[in-house]
């Protein structure tokens, strides 16, 4: 393990040095510009993209408490798919019609993006409804409520529903962490 770690670390350091050398070997002015763009990439991601995703996550709290775990997962999956397709579509939609020749960016990307997001919504809905039906059928055949856990099948996540309200939980954690450690 130690050998593997040191080998990985040493190889990483060598590659980093090569990368720095390649970056310094570019035409003058590039290094500063690239550093600026690297910082910009992190700023946009950490300061804009993730906070927006976290805000959406906050907005999903209500459905999360009301929906069974399976259904919440489907809803979140649908949003992840639609969001990823949107990111992929953005440069294409922005540059649509500005291709350098007719075979570059030849498609109607805004329409394609809208169709894909609509398709994702439909698939999400079908999965939500299908999951609900399956859960009900299972509940009826087994004569009780849908199973609480189970990695694959639909069912309520007992953990999520049984969890105490957030405020109480963090209060409990505070008292716990205030105790001296052994």
């Amino acid at each position: 393990m130690t050998t593997v770690r040191w080998t990985l670390g040493a190889a990483g350091a060598v590659l980093l040095i090569v990368g720095c050398w390649l970056l310094l070997d570019t035409r003058s002015g590039t290094v500063g510009q690239v550093l600026l763009w690297l910082a910009g990439a992190v700023a946009v991601h950490d300061g804009l993209l993730v906070p927006s995703v976290l805000l959406v996550g906050l907005g999903l709290r209500m459905p999360r408490r009301r929906l069974p775990g399976y259904a919440f997962g489907v809803l979140r999956g649908g949003l992840v798919v639609a969001g990823s397709l949107t990111l992929l579509a953005l440069p294409l939609v922005i540059r649509e019609g500005q291709g350098r020749n007719p075979s570059v960016l030849p498609l109607d990307y805004a329409d394609n993006w809208a169709a894909l997001v609509a398709g994702t919504a439909v698939v999400t809905l079908v999965l939500l409804l299908g999951g609900g039906v399956r859960a009900r059928v299972r509940g009826r055949t087994s004569g009780r409520a849908p199973r609480a856990t189970g990695a694959e099948g639909p069912g309520r996540r007992s953990g999520d529903r049984a969890a105490p309200p957030v405020g109480r939980r963090s209060a409990a954690r505070r008292t716990r962490s205030a105790r001296p450690r052994r």
């Binding site: 798919v81 020749n101 999520d160």
Partner: protein
């Protein structure tokens, strides 16, 4: 690493007050993440797929770079088989970069709370660790962004795409290996569902985690399915979000640079002659070229930007032209284009390409005379070679020493 070994979010138990009883330590303003799955098991599962994609992208990128700028000792021996080799590797390069978008963002979301770890720096070692993670995150984000925009031929930055994409790739993989070395204990502790670290995490997070991973997998599948058809032509009908489409382009083939973009002078086309400069220099008109033995080759044109398509080419074997000029074996060959604008007006061929029976000076494409945008009067087409080096509008072939 320490922050990742606790199921509780970082910040909640990292405060200085946690060691002594006393007034509760002030909570950092942003550091409280109540959401689930910001945990090392999720990071490990997402990370290993992302790591594989990054390594695949790096390997295929290295191969592409090697074909485009081979070191002198390799230049004569570059592989010409399989003929679809570059098509596959460069298709994989762009597809793996595209597929990395959802995975990278999911991975960074998982570890996002660690950005606010307190105290921000606990010593030199910790500072270096955080610096290497900053390099990793920044290069990963920018590298994917640059690559994606390059496939769209959109360059809103002031620097050269090629040299920066190349340098950042090394920084990215270097920082990745360093990250793996630093995080190795956390990774092994959470490698499997039954690994000791995983078992210390709340058990009821597992269905939630699987469901998140299914969502990310679906996203990876979706972005791949709607874009990979630009090189994986059987999926052309699904190609909704790719900058190229196999069905668009003159003579059944997309075009990267048109004759107008390359500023091909019409006057030089009118009395065009191919000039072969070697031990026995000669010139041929297009009619004379067409009278030489013609050969057919079914070869893909595969662009660095990821799109590719197979076509039927017809023309004169380059090696026949070279033999006629008395070129010595092992000679490097330089192909010069008429183009006046843009890069790649000159390309060089090592011996393996120059002597390959499939390397043609093509006069016809898919049964028709080459169109102006595909390189009329004559263009180079060679097996397993990046599209940018398949020089169009060839005017001169030079035998180098």
């Amino acid at each position: 690493m320490e922050g990742m070994e606790h199921p509780t979010p970082p910040g909640s138990d990292r405060s200085p007050g946690s060691h002594t009883a006393g007034p509760p330590a002030p909570r950092p303003p942003l550091a409280h993440f109540r959401g689930r799955l910001h945990d090392p098991r999720t990071a490990t599962v997402l990370g290993r797929w992302l790591g594989l994609l990054v390594l695949l992208c790096f390997g295929t990128g290295l191969f592409s770079h090697l074909l485009q700028e081979p070191p002198a000792f390799l230049a004569g021996d570059l592989p010409t088989r399989p003929v679809w080799g570059y098509r596959l590797t460069q298709g994989l390069h762009v597809a793996s970069g595209t597929a990395a978008i959802p995975l990278l963002l999911a991975k960074l979301w998982t570890v996002y709370p660690r950005l606010f770890v307190r105290p921000p720096v606990r010593g030199l070692r910790h500072a270096l660790e955080r610096l290497s993670v900053a390099v990793l995150v920044a290069t990963a984000l920018l590298e994917v962004f640059l690559g994606l925009l390059n496939t769209v031929q959109w360059y809103p930055w002031p620097y050269s795409f090629r040299s920066v994409h190349w340098a950042l790739a090394w920084l990215l993989v270097g920082a990745l290996l360093l990250h793996l070395a630093v995080q190795a204990p956390a990774i092994t502790a959470h490698w499997r569902a039954r690994s000791p670290g995983t078992r210390r995490l709340p058990a009821d997070d597992e269905p939630n985690r699987r469901s998140l991973l299914r969502g990310v997998t679906a996203a990876v599948g979706a972005v791949t399915a709607v874009s990979v058809g630009q090189s994986l032509t059987p999926l052309r009908d699904l190609t909704l979000l790719a900058p190229r489409h196999p069905g668009h382009g003159t003579q059944g083939l997309p075009v990267n640079r048109t004759a107008a973009q390359a500023a091909i002078p019409p006057a030089e086309l009118r009395d065009w002659r191919l000039r072969v400069a070697g031990p026995r220099t000669y010139q041929l008109t297009r009619v004379e070229l067409a009278r030489l033995p013609q050969h057919r080759a079914r070869l893909p044109i595969a662009c660095v930007e990821g799109w590719s398509k197979v076509a039927d080419w017809e023309g004169v074997r380059l090696r026949d032209l070279l033999e006629r000029s008395g070129a010595p074996p092992g000679a490097r060959i330089r192909i010069v284009s008429l183009q006046r604008r843009g890069g790649y007006g000159v390309s060089e061929l090592g011996e393996s390409y120059a002597r390959d029976p499939l390397t043609l000076l093509a006069l016809r494409l898919n049964g028709e005379v080459l169109s102006a945008d595909h390189g009329y009067p004559a263009r180079l087409i060679a097996p397993n070679r990046p599209g940018a080096l398949q020089t169009k509008w060839v005017s001169r072939i030079e035998v180098l020493s």
